[in-house]
Symmetry: C2
């Protein structure tokens, strides 16, 4: 009689960030057993990068639970495509073109590897362990340098025909409005992501004469804007109000199409707290279609900033079929 | 030994329109075996209406294939909710409030009854027998008096948390733009559905001095605008161009979020043909996010106007679990 194979109880979650790569050994319940990171930018060559990552990872795993207890690997990486397993034409990472990242890592590690972008991983993580727990129809918004999204339909992640769904940041909210980094005009991202918020602050400083502490700040950024708002600076408060007005309208459009149970905000900008959230909520309720008025919860992620992406990547890892040369 | 029950091979599809109610006996392959209709507006009382509908229906069925060969019933009706089986706060039908239409009909007919709105039924019909055949991620747009939509995610209809998904007509495309019948401003429907197109024509006639045959028309409507465009009337052509510009932008926003394989236009307005479709396609490609540029097919429904809704209702009927007092 063959011996029953013991179920492997851990996975690896990897978050490839523009600045930092984080990798962790995580169990089925989302407990992070061990975690380390290194600087992504030190490896402009993808093969070198993957070699170093694999070596670090194997070391961490051996010290934590042993390689034989790792079931699979989930990778969270910007511009990556869940459907193809490829990193595709990354805008902010140093590796260009189309790179079959999942296959390259599988070959190095001898483990099944799944790949998804940040919004998708975060959606998986929030559904398993966070603010979307138990929800079947919800939206994740990532709001930081850029603006992305992911939604679940009937309990399943919506990826679209080619895996490119979720580009809410590049929906047009103001015909012929602000220039966006994507080459179009009036995109939601150009008002609501980091650069957009800073532009709004600068426009306000130029169009109004009233005094503001912001006039003495060299490097206006969302963190400073929140601090100034806390101190009662009117222009900082107004910057967040205008941002929230646009964001609420954009989210209302999204919700009118999807009728989600909740929209969960993640990323750096929601740290602005009520300065951003209150005007967002007001604009949302003002614009959303009457059938779902008062029915959509606007929430902020309940997971920690440093853990959200690797946790999501670990949930992704459980979704891929186990792989081994010896199975 | 028990005799195996013969599979029932037909269903009933019902389309409750504001003006006309159509009901048909339809087989598994979408062949319409018999079809009749009557005037919806003659029955302001819902119980009378359902009594008459049931009587007509039973007669038609008995003459066609016999009641014992009908498996179930699908009903296509505006403002109806697939998830609850209720007609909910209809705007253009004469029956107000929340009416448990599916349950009322099931009790009268002794057959399982499923209920969905027009966009949902049409999506089911187009996927089974029409332009969306074989597709897993696609969007249906209904464009006539109003503007609705339905999309499929991973091969399944997306209904949203409470069944209210699809209100693309009430997404804001112009902040503080035109007044919409929903009470908001700048909704896509207020530019692209019937009333919006007429308003655009009237605005053009007011803002320009050039001669136009439209100046001699008492009742400007989409049909007239298409006829005039065919005759080379510049203002009629420009009316459709402006409509298409808005529609293309709105659809691009939808596509950037969903990444569908195709967007299928149905309803009365697409009969404007190239006058509407060419500017729509140009604006769509101009606004859609770069990842999916050139990848989304804009199609027009391939089903006949008088059959599309009952065919869709028949597909809906096959989705509901068979019901009988005697099973």
């Amino acid at each position: 009689m063959m011996e029953l194979q013991k179920m492997k109880s851990n996975v690896v979650g990897i978050d490839i960030g523009i600045a930092t790569t984080t990798y962790a050994v995580i169990d089925l319940r989302g407990n992070i057993l061990a975690q380390e990171s290194f600087d992504t930018r030190e490896y402009p060559n993808i093969d070198n990068y993957l070699g170093v990552l694999s070596e670090h990872l194997v070391n961490l795993v051996e010290r934590t639970c042993g390689y034989e207890n790792i079931r699979s690997v989930g990778v969270c990486c910007p511009n990556s495509n869940y459907k193809t397993g490829c990193l595709e034409n990354a805008t902010n990472l140093q590796w260009k073109g189309v790179i079959p990242l999942a296959a390259l890592m599988r070959d190095r590690l001898g483990l099944a590897v799944a790949l998804a972008n940040n919004s998708q991983c975060i959606a998986l993580g929030e559904q398993a362990f966070g603010a979307a727990h138990g929800m079947r129809d919800f939206v994740i918004i990532t709001l930081g340098h850029g603006m992305g999204s992911c939604f679940f339909s009937n309990g399943k992640m919506h990826m679209g025909n080619k895996g490119f769904a979720g580009e809410i940041g590049h929906t047009c909210v103001v015909p012929n409005g602000r220039e966006c980094s994507c080459g179009h005009r009036g995109c939601l991202e150009s008002y609501c992501a980091e650069r957009g918020v800073i532009q709004t602050a600068k426009e306000l400083l130029a169009e109004r004469n009233e005094p503001s502490m912001l006039r003495n700040v060299d490097d206006i950024n969302p963190k400073v804007l929140t601090e100034m708002a806390e101190l009662g600076d009117h222009l900082a408060i107004e910057t967040w109000r205008r941002t929230g007005e646009m964001l609420g309208m954009g989210l209302a459009n999204y919700a009118s199409i999807l009728n989600p149970e909740a929209i969960i905000l993640t990323g750096g900008l929601p740290h602005a707290g009520r300065w951003l959230l209150e005007p967002t909520e007001a604009a949302f309720e003002n614009h959303v279609f009457r059938n779902i008025k008062g029915q959509t919860r606007l929430l902020v992620s309940s997971l920690k900033d440093g853990e959200r992406d690797v946790l999501g990547a670990s949930v992704l890892a459980w979704q891929v079929k186990e792989y081994s040369l010896f199975l």
